[in-house]
Symmetry: C2
Subunit: 315 residues, 2 copies
């Protein structure tokens, strides 16, 4: 198993330069006042493609040999990884085939197709995306760009942490957790900080895994407003990093996620998708003790359908 | 009449450092594709207080002598200048009295009060804010922080242009125009760029002034979704700068402003208020010829009430 290092993240930062963007750290007086902390929100919703996933996808595709890359790439994804892989593939001038759940947010399906990717949909409850992905990959000789359990993808996501570390020295990082690619990359990039993975209520495998000391799974088919955080379980690499590098994990109720989206609308002037607002929710609710601390909150993405967004504003 | 210079803007940049924030320039693939230009959106909605006004207010208050400042400051404003002056006053530890129209967006009234300012409301159609402001100022010995026709305010707003110039060399700048403080500050900061002031339809005094060669006024009492752009006329200084430095001005229908807000929601992941989206609307509609050009679009603010925002998404 290859665990990425700080050097791998530095190499990723070079590879993604000019393709993924350096996102701002957003400050807000009211947020500091409410939490009693000094909070910097890493606005990955302003990342190209609307989510952090562009970092890992770009690094992984850039690291392929030109021959392998030319045959095209494949990804299976609930949405933001699909957008990222299709965007990066377009930039590298290669074909992309994306396996997506049929009930993925419309905006994510549409954006992926608009990038010129071939989208294959599947039933999230009754079919396995991994099985479909493996079949298509084998048939067409495509390079699989995994959503999280890949050292290049993890190192790519870690560049978000590297950028944070170039501007501030956070005591605590609050980061959405699911497959664990983003959280584990940032944990490696910011070894001095305590990283907490934040999960949707009812889908708390990281929390349970850190407690039990073995990798736990979620029951398949659970729905949540946080459509980007519904992975069944962590991967081999991300679990190993979570086990050894995370300070903790905890879950947040859906209503608090909606309130955090509304807070971001009203005060940060940022459009966050539910998965992208969950770490902010952890800060606003005091679910993690952050008083007096310097805190980085990862706002991982902003690809949200209009009805979901409006529902959150009215919550 | 004192016209601010590049040196004045450089001095302002020093004064506001650590108080106002350096806002990001946001890129978007779809925006470039639609317009055929290379567009950088200056996200002043991410400015402290949610709008560019923080720059000018901070510079003007910082430039007061400590004795004058200690007596407190006064401002009359439709909203964002109110938020900015009250925020800056709080930071400098002095009192603020703000004269605001009674029909200003709720979020702007609330935020100003939350900053500890005393808010005096007036009827936008039947009362003159200037008269009320002058009366209160005289009675209490407060220093008036004008919303735009002040060299320190203009120089402060110009720091947004200075920041743009440190990152890119735009051929064209599209900027909301009303009193003209922001547009004239940026025009001075970026002398090589062609600046166009963008106004709401029916409230196009800058457009008419540049055509007629004399300062034109708007009929009082006109309503528009662009609540931040309803000044009766430019000031002496801003008109002089507009006359000599603007490349042009034009007005945009309300429906296009709403569509630009929806575009910013869906693609830029930014919350823009109507006034803050009007320059983006000019880019999206092709109202200014920008094909093949490097363009800075000023997204001046994001302080929008929820119903107005939702209405724009559904437009």
């Amino acid at each position: 198993m290859m665990i990425p290092t700080l050097d791998d993240i530095a190499a990723a930062a070079e590879r993604i330069k000019g393709i993924a963007v350096r996102t701002p750290l957003v400050r807000n007086d009211l947020l500091d006042e409410i939490t009693g902390a000094r909070i910097w929100v890493k606005a990955e919703n302003l990342q190209r493609g609307g989510a952090f996933k562009m970092r890992g996808a770009t690094n992984a595709i850039a690291a392929l040999t030109p021959e392998v890359r030319a045959r095209g790439v494949l990804a299976f994804s609930s949405g933001n990884h699909a957008i990222a892989v299709s965007t990066a593939a377009r930039i590298f001038g290669v074909g992309a085939t994306i396996v997506m759940p049929a009930d993925a947010p419309r905006i994510k399906l549409d954006t992926t197709r608009a990038n010129g990717a071939e989208v294959i949909t599947y039933d999230r409850v009754n079919e396995s995306r991994e099985a479909i992905g493996a079949k298509v990959s084998g048939e067409r000789g495509l390079a699989l760009i995994k959503p999280f359990d890949d050292p290049f993808v993890i190192a790519g996501q870690g560049t978000a942490g590297r950028e944070i570390g170039e501007e501030i020295s956070p005591d605590i990082v609050l980061c959405p957790g699911s497959g664990g690619g983003l959280a584990s990359g940032i944990a490696i990039a910011l070894p001095q900080a305590k990283l907490f993975a934040i999960e949707p209520e009812g889908h708390d495998d990281i929390t349970r895994s850190l407690k039990s000391g073995k990798r736990e799974r979620n029951a398949p088919g659970i729905r949540s407003i946080c459509d980007g955080l519904l992975t069944e379980e962590m991967g081999d690499i991300t679990y190993e990093i979570a086990r050894t590098r995370f300070a903790g994990a905890l879950s947040i109720p859906e209503i608090e996620v909606k309130r955090a989206m509304a807070f971001a609308f009203r005060n940060l002037k940022l459009v966050l998708e539910p998965s992208g607002a969950i770490a902010l929710a952890a800060a606003l609710t005091g679910a993690v003790e952050i008083k007096g601390k310097t805190v980085a909150v990862i706002a991982s993405g902003g690809n949200v359908d209009q009805p979901t967004f409006i529902d959150a504003l009215n919550a």
